[in-house]
């Protein structure tokens, strides 16, 4: 999910001051079916962590499966091959997340310069069309990528060959040379306009009097941006930044799954995709569960850090 809540509102409605306990229970019973759904799909799977301690094979009941103890966990570090794998996958995860965080200033810049456009109609057109990519699936993004960059008769190759700038077609999709960068660029393409929406909202929320005061003091356009707009956007930016730290280890797998091929797997396999590949494709349920269990714990730990940082820096927790 792109947008996350800033914080839980401290304001509670004063409406039913002295609600009867019967009434309270009635309200709870109305919510119960939905709470059960949340339990089934978010809490019940936690029981599945038990598979991390067994050599579970699909079709064989757990009771008959061999108990492994901590073997799956220790093999991650003691088995040389597996250790190399984990290191490679972690490297990819961190690189791609790091690049995504590094590019998270782009929507801010986008928003700051967009509000400078004088034509309201042009502004609207830009906003509408740049948000569009956010609403299509990664499968479709891959379809675009294939049309534009494929080695045989893709748009880019044909164009460059026509112009005589290259003599052999570039195989961009099946090359491992710039995988991290390519993935980051696709994320930027998909998310830039959308990411800017919230900053544009925040800019409109900045008090106009501050701008006027600064203008009276002789500030030019860039000084206004730097000394008024940027500080005004900082709170929003920090909330989103902290949330992305909490999500550092979760890149999701859809984007990488659709772009993955035999050539680029070395640099594209992030943790989520790795868990899928060893768990669902190779049916190594025990090891995959162990990896995703560690991942969940690390991500909880990162979220805790982000939340603490948020409390220290902003005096408000994320959740």
């Amino acid at each position: 999910m792109d947008i996350q809540p800033a914080s839980q509102s401290p304001v509670t409605p004063k409406l039913p001051k002295r609600a009867h306990s019967k009434d309270k229970l009635q309200l709870f019973l109305m919510a119960l079916p939905f709470l059960v759904l949340a339990f089934l799909f978010s809490y019940l799977p936690l029981y599945g962590w038990i598979y991390a301690f067994y050599d579970y094979r699909p079709g064989i009941p757990l009771a008959v499966s061999e108990f492994m103890g901590w073997d799956w966990f220790t093999s991650m570090f003691s088995n040389e091959v597996q250790r190399q794998e984990i290191i490679r996958v972690l490297r990819n995860t961190f690189a791609i997340s790091g690049l995504n965080i590094a590019t998270s200033v782009l929507p801010v810049i986008f928003a700051i310069f967009l509000v400078e456009l004088r034509s309201t109609r042009f502004k609207k057109v830009v906003q509408t069309l740049t948000t569009l990519p956010n609403f299509i699936s990664w499968v479709l993004v891959y379809s675009f990528a294939f049309m534009l960059f494929s080695v045989d008769n893709g748009f880019l190759n044909n164009f460059l060959l026509d112009m005589g700038w290259i003599s052999r077609p570039l195989n961009i999709l099946a090359s491992d040379d710039h995988t991290w960068m390519a993935m980051t660029l696709w994320s930027v393409w998909k998310g830039l306009g959308w990411g800017a929406i919230m900053y544009i909202a925040a800019i409109t929320g900045i008090d106009q009097e501050i701008y006027e005061a600064a203008r009276v003091d002789g500030a030019g356009r860039f000084r206004l941006m730097w000394h008024v707009t940027v500080p005004g956007l900082m709170p929003t930016f920090f909330v989103l930044l902290l949330l992305s730290i909490g999500n550092f280890i979760n890149n999701g797998m859809e984007q990488f799954y659709v772009f993955q091929n035999a050539m680029n797997t070395n640099h594209i396999e992030v943790l989520d995709l790795y868990v899928y590949n060893i768990g669902m494709t190779n049916s190594n349920f025990g090891f995959a569960t162990a990896v995703s269990m560690l991942k969940s714990l690390v991500s909880l730990f990162l979220l805790f850090i982000a939340n603490t940082l948020s409390k220290v820096i902003r005096g408000d927790s994320i959740f």
């Binding site: 947008i3 229970l25 309200l27 919510a31 799977p45 509408t128 569009l132 049309m147 919230m198 995703s292």
Partner: protein, 295 residues
């Protein structure tokens, strides 16, 4: 705003850069489209680049002859409509309940919010779905999507910003919680519900991994999943088309090629979004501002 603006390099560059960014965002859509309506032979050789050549609409007719595609469209449409309806209803109702003095409200609210940040992981989740009988089951598309903490937070925040007096007066008139919800709250919160409806329907329509994880039954494949398969298998499908249409005299311009099939199916997948998007854009911009400004 001054009446007459002087030429400035700043604005010149600003307009130029934004025009370029917009072009980059739109070009793939355009490029795909002109390739679906162009001469298939030229298109498959990558010769249709900036404008369509040899217009025809055969691809759109042919693509629905592909076995399984109509069924997939129905599944995609069904999950989008039903899923969205239930998600919106549940978010509205729960968001409202959480503004009330519900039993254990703080606890249950946290109970839901935590699920946004924490999950057990793919394999435990998959095995749970398996044990709940939700593999190869249409409900697998619907049930897990009903309760979405983020949407519930949006509704809760929105309800809290509506005048309390309205609810109070209804209560004095003897309305129960459900009555207040349906006749007072529901009409008030339609803007945020429209936002949720868009988010939810787009994510239902675009969803791909749940089919990948949970479904092997061809009857339950979605358009996105079919498209993914076609990305990998388009060559064999073109072969199939050739056999089923039984073309004797080879008409290269209109004959299905791997490229024409990929592009046309892509277009079929993206078209609903392109059609619906312009009408709803103003809603979600507003809705996101509510979410962003909150508190």
């Amino acid at each position: 705003m001054s009446v007459k603006e002087k030429f400035s390099w700043f604005h010149f560059f600003n307009y130029a850069v934004f025009a370029l960014i917009t072009l980059i965002c739109v070009f793939p859509f355009y490029y795909l489209f002109i390739n679906t309506i162009s001469n298939n032979d030229l298109s498959s050789r990558g010769l249709v680049m900036f404008y369509p050549k040899g217009l025809h609409l055969t691809n759109y007719i042919d693509v629905f002859k592909i076995p399984g595609l109509g069924q997939a469209a129905l599944v995609s449409l069904g999950r989008t409509l039903l899923g969205t309806l239930l998600t919106v209803a549940a978010s509205a109702f729960l968001g409202y309940l959480f503004t009330k003095q519900m039993w254990g409200r703080r606890f249950w609210y946290r109970f839901l919010v935590i699920t946004m940040y924490f999950n057990a992981g793919l394999i435990p989740w998959y095995l749970t779905m398996l044990h709940l009988g939700l593999t190869n089951n249409f409900l697998a598309y619907i049930l897990p999507a009903i309760v979405q903490p983020f949407f519930i937070i949006l509704v809760k925040t929105f309800v809290e910003s509506t005048p309390v007096a309205l609810q109070e007066s209804a209560q004095i008139d003897g309305a129960g919680h459900f009555k207040i919800f349906t006749s007072i709250i529901f009409p008030l919160i339609t803007p945020i519900l429209a936002t949720i409806a868009i988010f939810s329907s787009v994510s239902q329509w675009n969803s791909f991994t749940d089919t990948l994880f949970l479904v092997t039954d061809q009857k339950l494949f979605t358009l996105q999943f079919i498209l993914y398969r076609y990305m990998n298998e388009a060559t064999s499908i073109a072969q199939l088309m050739k056999q089923t249409t039984g073309a004797v005299n080879i008409d290269l311009a209109n004959m299905a090629t791997p490229t024409s099939i990929r592009t046309t199916v892509s277009m079929v997948v993206v078209l609903p979004i392109l059609l619906v998007y312009p009408f709803f854009q103003r809603f979600f911009v507003k809705g996101i501002m509510i979410g962003a400004v909150k508190g």
